[in-house]
Symmetry: C3
Subunit: 263 residues, 3 copies
Amino acid sequence: MTTSPGAALVAMRAANPLVQCITNYVAMNVAANTLLAAGASPAMIHAAEESGEFAAIAGALTVNIGTVSPAWVEGMVGAIDGALAAGRPWVLDPVAASATTYRRAVTGRLIDLAPTVVRGNASEILALAGGGGGRGVDATDSVAAAEAGARALAAERGCVVAATGAVDFVTDGVRAVRIAGGSPLMPRVTALGCALTCLVGAFAATVPDPFDATVAALTTFAAAGELAAQDADGPGSFGWRFLDALAALGAKAVDTSVLVTPA
Amino acid sequence: MTTSPGAALVAMRAANPLVQCITNYVAMNVAANTLLAAGASPAMIHAAEESGEFAAIAGALTVNIGTVSPAWVEGMVGAIDGALAAGRPWVLDPVAASATTYRRAVTGRLIDLAPTVVRGNASEILALAGGGGGRGVDATDSVAAAEAGARALAAERGCVVAATGAVDFVTDGVRAVRIAGGSPLMPRVTALGCALTCLVGAFAATVPDPFDATVAALTTFAAAGELAAQDADGPGSFGWRFLDALAALGAKAVDTSVLVTPA
Amino acid sequence: MTTSPGAALVAMRAANPLVQCITNYVAMNVAANTLLAAGASPAMIHAAEESGEFAAIAGALTVNIGTVSPAWVEGMVGAIDGALAAGRPWVLDPVAASATTYRRAVTGRLIDLAPTVVRGNASEILALAGGGGGRGVDATDSVAAAEAGARALAAERGCVVAATGAVDFVTDGVRAVRIAGGSPLMPRVTALGCALTCLVGAFAATVPDPFDATVAALTTFAAAGELAAQDADGPGSFGWRFLDALAALGAKAVDTSVLVTPA
């Protein structure tokens, strides 16, 4: 990496990027609070009537299909078209990608629109790579089992792919790293993965290399998770401690508390 | 009851049931966090394009009309049809059932689709039993005043009916219990009742008898509320302490801290 | 003012007004919790099929365009028509009013429906007053720079206008005050401004003079913010401490901790 995750966090905060987050109903509040705590500025504008126009104003776009419906797909596609036309990065979060026929069709339509980054759990990445997928929104596969699929997907699509879990895996098809950190409480709080996707958008808006941006976002997130877990008594206290940690986190803590290793 | 609520909680956690929750926008996040803290796996998939297909994958379905609109009704009906075809239990939460003409029509349509369990506040249960109803989403009647209506509704519809409040009442038309526990802070936190409906779904997915499942869910919820209230300074701190309590709660605490009495 | 903010809070709690809040997906949960903590009763009923009928039942209506789409505009207009016909006050929150062509059109349509109060950040108020506007949902102008625009807008539309920020400005075109209080953590928590709009609705439902009602709501909010900030370690802990503070707040604390000065 040319930029350390900690340095990328400092640069992101200084830029305070406006990030358009089209995400699911469960995630909206926690995703917005995650971006605000980290130092970015979220906007959840989604309707097809304005999503494309707004994408040109924002620094990056994130699209999450968790509670998708036809009207929202039109808003997503409009926003993606706007982002592509304006040269903005966009991040795809293919929640429960293979759970239903409809979801597979939506995911297939969106992946063809050249995402800059795809972030999902292991089962979702495997589903996109043509190798299976889980029953619901939670991963039933390990990240280790999704590494080959992630590499293949990144190479085929020319994008960065991040499979996140206890140890994250990030690749652009050539480079690859594993990121070890975070806390077992993180999957016990709903929509933290969705919030992470929005944070990847914030970094992608400010760090030129999408691979570095993704690694920086995941490392920052894992560092905040470790800090929050120190005093958390369960998923409820972890939730607000995570936001406090994200807001308090310095560059040095990011670069020293989470292990990023070439893969 | 053939199963103690505490034993049912242990069984539910071991099964980690996937619960499809079609709920309102206010409740989505807290409902998902409630299920995760308790040990279930929530999925908020709602669109008519996929809700029925997904209902066959999930272990149970819950339907809440809090912020209902026509497109969502189609998603609800599709999911219910899917759940019924797959033999899955489904739980109805008739929020503000009698507040408007539209809401009465929606409630009437859904109650005709054979819910396994109906959970509401006293005013909502009275509205369904043909005996009145409140002004908004909060109960303006006591649970005691709704007991006869709950019994009649359960007998007429062949389902379990739970009217919840300071003391809950659960009946299948023959059996009936009162559950005394929880905290006065619970109605000061929005959507906890909606979250409870989703938790009833989690228990209904794993406990064969819907009456036992409902009693177990309400008892677990009340026990967590009591635990959370011990150190809460208001509705804000109660909110996250409730999730911590739900995650930490053992079978013994469930079976000893909440009074369940035949009615 | 004929009523002190603290006295207005006591009166509002005693009345426990039902407030219909049509707000954005990000804000729904925190807005409902804010009203419950303060002592009001929220209902998020929004669909055009029932929003107008419900507006006559509620004591006030609030409308927020944060995540607006065409179907929601119809629900908003139906609710506003119902509120006007029933003589209920209604409050407009023009989130990111000038960000897109669509948003400008929606805002223009709603402002023509005679809101009782308009509450926004400085950029949003300037946009409505015909003088600019920011890039996203966050203010890029100071409240001081929006005072003249707020006065002109209030005089032109015959409504109360509140531009909120580090120091709030409230005017009905003739009277005007500045309210200094709150905490720098407040803009770090998403949707607190949207929640404040709903709280203005609660006060407008019970305090006859909309100017006094708006001042009381903003003063109460600022007092709770100051109290919450005393022990908060960041935006996460501020969030729940704010709800605890709002619930615990007495009339005296409201009237002594926040400076309200004629402007």
